[in-house]
Amino acid sequence: MYLIFFLMIAFVVASAFVIDDDQPVKIVVPSNFPAPVYNLEKNKITQKGVELGRQLFYDGLLSIDGSTSCGSCHQQVSAFVQQDHDFSHGVENRIGRRNALPLANLIFSKSFFWDGGVFNLDLTPVNAIENEVEMGENLDHVLKKLNASLLYKARFKATYGVDSITTNLFLKSISQFLATMVSANSRYDKYVRKEGEVLNADELEGLNIFKDKCSTCHSSDLFTDGSFRNNGSTADFRFDKGRHEITLADADIGKFKVPSLRNVEFTGPYMHDGSLQSLEEVLEHYNSGMKASASLDPVFKKRDKPGISLDGNEKRKLVAFLKTLTDQEFLTNKKLSEF
């Protein structure tokens, strides 16, 4: 009883010295975005917390052999996917079975990963940490390593006033960093927010084609409706049943998360299996390459052969438009980078 009481006093005294000094960070919700899903009230974002989260994100200590950090498979130059990899490489060069998803605007997402198996941003890092083909570690062992590190003990003390690094504070720190990964300053954004940006004729026509033919799934300025759909990129689901692995519903076999298209110019290869290399290939896939199976999304069944008709001109204009979703500030923001 009295131990708790003394700890409470110790906490009050410590917090008076530590937390008072820290600067809160306001996450600005872009005016063309919906409200965040992540509860920012339950994780007060501070400059120190974000900085600590960034350090953890880029630290191989989170993996079993020290070789692989979050940043290994989520590289800023390629909008936080692993460049030129269809499947991500983890510890001991083990290869995953899915293509890493880009990281951006995560606080606006209802679920995470291709199958949506994780619904709380705070728990997303554990998936990578404990996956045998990614970081191959155990969360409790990561916490032991952190608690044995004088550097991290000092950082957590300075950030939260604590002597022991807990699951909660470890995960909340990474979430603080992830929360700052907002990509909303592409040329397209500045155009729709009327900030003086002009799109050229091809880009504008591309935008109109996009609205007509793509925005059912890639909706809102997040460019995804967060749903799970089978887009015909494969009809072989023996080794990856997608959303079905979570819901166990037959109707969900072969459905995968509709990914955002922000910075799509740099996030290739594309699809959950990384099977398409370029934006041109992706558009041609929708035009002529679709593989039909039972759960193929109804939006692709509006003509005899499954797919969406796109002629050469339309594809060219769509690519021009998709490149306006490139956010140079995001890709080069020092606050998000490793060094």
Binding site: V126, V142, T167, E245
Partner: protein
């Protein structure tokens, strides 16, 4: 200077406030209105005490050696004859029982209002609210980076309610004769998924809680029923269950294994 003084003042005020609360708590816990209760779990297989070295045989004639037996007990509620009940406060109502840790098989419940209780209800598993709660509230038995290590699905957010592992000659050679039953599923967050939450109620007539009595409710769990109570689970046919429609059937099997044994006083 002045600002600093005010800050100091606020600090002293909050210290005094906590001091007062601390003292009050210290006094109230010493009153005669509450008592403790222990719930004790004992694991058997066809009446024989489970350990990790003996061999057991299930009703399908499959030989079994256990290596892991863990499950969550939560949402403990005590009921009275008059229909009223007392629920153990949420933040102290989650326990991870492990065969490998003797002390984990004794759940010590404190500060229970004194009186006679005629029944106990608890859940085997973790309710959906805790499964989806902010990580800050998932401490103790529910700490995914601590006590709950290995009892959480990272790829499919949710606690593993019940975990039984071991070896059997009936399990395939290529998986070194290992079998594993990991049962969970709280019903889903955005989408409906399997629900393996099971609740059990026992009569505990004559259970008296008061300051000078330390009642112990012993629950016997005979896990032979996990393989046959309602749905036959044959290791030869199904040696690994992680996440599947059969999970809920296994939950039906194991929940029926929990039986009231006796009531004693320490």
């Amino acid at each position: 200077m002045n600002l600093k003084f005010n800050k100091m003042n606020a600090k002293i005020k909050s210290i005094l406030l906590i001091l007062t609360i601390g003292l009050l708590l210290g006094f109230t816990s010493k009153t005669d209105d509450t008592g403790n209760l222990t719930i004790s779990f004992n694991h058997f297989f066809k009446g024989q005490k489970i350990d990790f070295t003996s061999e057991f045989v299930n009703s399908h004639d499959e030989k079994i050696k256990f290596s892991t037996l863990n499950y969550f007990i939560s949402n403990i509620k005590l009921t009275k004859k008059d229909g009223t009940s007392y629920s153990i406060p949420q933040d102290s109502s989650y326990f991870l029982v492990k065969e490998s840790e003797i002390q984990s098989k004794q759940l010590h419940l404190k500060n229970i209002p004194k009186g006679e209780y005629s029944g106990i209800t608890f859940t085997v598993g973790v309710d959906s609210v805790r499964n989806t709660m902010d990580i800050a509230r998932r401490t103790g038995a529910l700490d995914v980076g601590g006590t709950a290590k290995g009892m959480y699905w990272i790829w499919n957010s949710g606690y593993i309610f019940f975990k039984m592992e071991g070896t059997s000659p009936s399990a395939p050679d290529q998986q070194k004769n290992k079998f594993a039953y990991h049962v969970g599923g709280f019903g889903g967050y955005n989408t409906k998924t399997i629900n393996s939450i099971r609740t059990k109620e026992f009569e505990t007539n004559g259970l008296m809680v008061s300051r000078d009595k330390n009642p112990v409710v012993a629950i016997n769990v005979d896990l032979a029923g996990m393989f046959d109570a309602h749905t036959p689970i044959k290791i030869a046919e199904r040696s690994t269950v992680m996440w599947g429609d059969i999970s809920t059937k296994i939950a039906d099997n194991y929940i029926s294994c929990f039986k009231f044994f006796n009531l004693s006083y320490k």
